[in-house]
């Protein structure tokens, strides 16, 4: 391998108590690549993304960012988290802050950006995703789709090199899914590397450079979307897709 992958997962293993959640996940993700994880609930998608962001410590294996091991025990996670953003299924906006402050908080407190510079960046991003008029609203005044777009903006404001999207449309009304997916579509090709956990099969097929099927905490099959959705070789993947697409 001559080019260093943006993210390398090397036999990542994790259990909660006695329950194994990830059993040796290995994967190389190139710069700017969009990788989608599909799989049943409980297959380990969310845990995998949380491990990459160092929100969950791993039990064995290694996670590398630009060839640098970020999962090393005792390493300060904060500089790593500045480079890897995550968006959660439940948005997790700060309810006591306006949209604008949700976006600027980490800019001013973590990066030490001056207030007006942070505000400028927040307004620019909010404008880009049609949220400028909601800048001074509190999150509970926003629709689910708007909240999730704000959460994406909040992560993007830190100019992360990698963005993790954890089932970002699962908590939304079907009518609001589209506006959030549009945001993700727009991000593809901007050079940002994305790892996406999703139940939206059509979206996974359309946006991914590569699709990985997680089952029982392991990647049982991966490949370009056409190969996975058109001609899956693994029996478990075929069964999973049969169930998902039948719905």
């Amino acid at each position: 391998m001559s080019v260093v992958p943006k993210v390398r997962l090397d036999r990542v293993t994790k259990s909660f108590g006695d329950a194994p959640v990830l059993v040796g996940v290995s994967l190389d993700v190139a710069v700017g690549e969009v990788v989608t994880f599909i799989g049943a609930s409980g297959s380990g998608k969310t845990t995998l993304l949380r491990c990459i962001n160092l929100l969950e410590p791993i039990d064995d294996g290694a996670i590398l960012l630009d060839g640098d091991e970020i999962s090393r025990v005792g390493r300060d996670p904060n500089p790593v988290r500045r480079r890897i953003g995550i968006v959660f299924q439940a948005f997790n906006l700060f309810p006591h802050m306006t949209v604008r402050r949700n976006v600027t908080l980490a800019l001013t407190e973590v990066l030490g950006a001056p207030r007006d510079e942070a505000e400028g960046r927040a307004l620019e991003l909010l404008g880009r995703f049609a949220l400028a008029d909601r800048a001074d609203a509190y999150p509970d005044r926003l629709s689910g789709g708007q909240q999730q777009r704000v959460a994406i903006v909040r992560a993007l404001a830190m100019r992360p090199e990698v963005l993790l999207l954890d089932e970002v449309t699962s908590a939304l009304d079907p009518a609001l899914v589209g506006e959030v997916l549009d945001v993700v579509r727009e991000l593809k090709g901007s050079g940002i590397t994305m790892l996406i956990a999703t139940h939206e099969m059509g979206f996974a097929r359309e946006i991914s450079d590569r699709v990985c099927h997680l089952d029982g905490g392991a990647i049982v099959e991966s490949g370009p979307p056409a190969a996975i959705f058109g001609d899956a070789r693994d029996e478990r993947t075929r069964r999973f897709l049969g169930r998902s697409l039948a719905r």
């Binding site: 904060n78 988290r81 830190m158």
Partner: protein, 280 residues
């Protein structure tokens, strides 16, 4: 639409039900009042009780003295409150800390909370208020007023600390995860994300503790300072009449009842707010 037949029927029904319950409430209140007004004066010792507890002249005589003594209660209350909130916040944050190096601090805080919550306020005032000046401290450091206040702060700091802790634990884990994922340190997460939400949530419970504190301030009188309870005792002995105690109680009620109402109102608002967002 509100114009439907069912809607009109329901409105009528509700109006009837309201009228019925208003009638019941009026009748029962009248019955109780009548019983009090008619029965109590017929009790054999009523005249004597009225003379020794409800003497209008003595009430008016001692009221100004009691009011000025009450200012000391208010002062104790006012300087204890910020100390208690600061102490409570420290206790809550220390108990919630996870760093192994802070284990001794956590253990100390747990012991402190257990002890202060387990001892009656009055005992803690006696022990601290008489005990510490007994170490032979010089003026002004031997003042019972000072150490009585310290005892109140220690006791209520433990109560308020537990309230804050409940508030901190009530903040959803996702909030912490979101803050940490943006690169905020655990201290910054506490300060910007967890504490502001926790404090908002526990305001009504804190108000409850403040109402209790407002009353318990009077216990400081037991180790010397002349505040309202002690002044009432002095007047009672002078007049050989209990009316000053009734006057003191009335003064307390003037403060605690509005505080209690405010607390209820805040509680109701908080409940509306949280259930409102939960249902949506």
């Amino acid at each position: 639409m509100t114009g439907g037949a069912r809607a009109r029927e329901r409105l009528d029904h509700e109006r009837r039900a309201r009228r019925r319950s208003a009638a019941v409430a009026t009748a029962s209140t009248a019955a109780v009042l009548a019983a009090v007004v008619l029965v109590v004066p017929r009790l054999p010792r009523w005249a004597r009780v009225r003379a020794s507890f409800f003497d209008g002249e003595r009430f008016a005589d001692s009221l100004p003295r009691l009011l000025s003594a009450f200012l000391l209660d208010v002062r104790i209350f006012l300087w204890c409150t910020p100390v208690i909130f600061g102490l409570g916040l420290l206790v809550a944050v220390a108990r919630g800390s996870r760093a192994p190096a802070l284990f001794p601090l956590r253990a100390l805080v747990v012991a402190y909370v257990d002890v202060m919550r387990g001892v009656p306020v009055i005992l803690s005032i006696y022990l601290v208020g008489f005990g510490v000046p007994g170490l032979g401290l010089e003026r002004p450091w031997n003042s019972p007023l000072l150490w009585g206040s310290v005892a109140l702060c220690l006791t209520y700091g433990a109560y308020v600390g537990e309230v804050f802790r409940a508030g901190i634990e009530g903040v959803h884990e996702g909030q912490r995860a979101a803050a940490r994922s943006l690169g905020l340190s655990s201290g910054q997460t506490m300060r910007f994300v967890v504490l502001p939400q926790a404090v908002r949530r526990v305001v009504p419970a804190l108000m409850n503790d403040l109402v209790s504190l407002q009353k318990d301030v009077a216990l400081v009188s037991l180790i010397g300072p002349i505040e309202i309870l002690r002044q009432a005792g002095i007047d009672k002995s002078k007049f050989a009449n209990f009316t000053p105690y009734v006057a003191a109680a009335a003064i307390f009620l003037c403060v605690t009842i509005p505080l209690t109402r405010l607390t209820d109102w805040l509680l109701a608002r908080e409940r509306r707010r949280t259930t409102g967002t939960a249902v949506r």
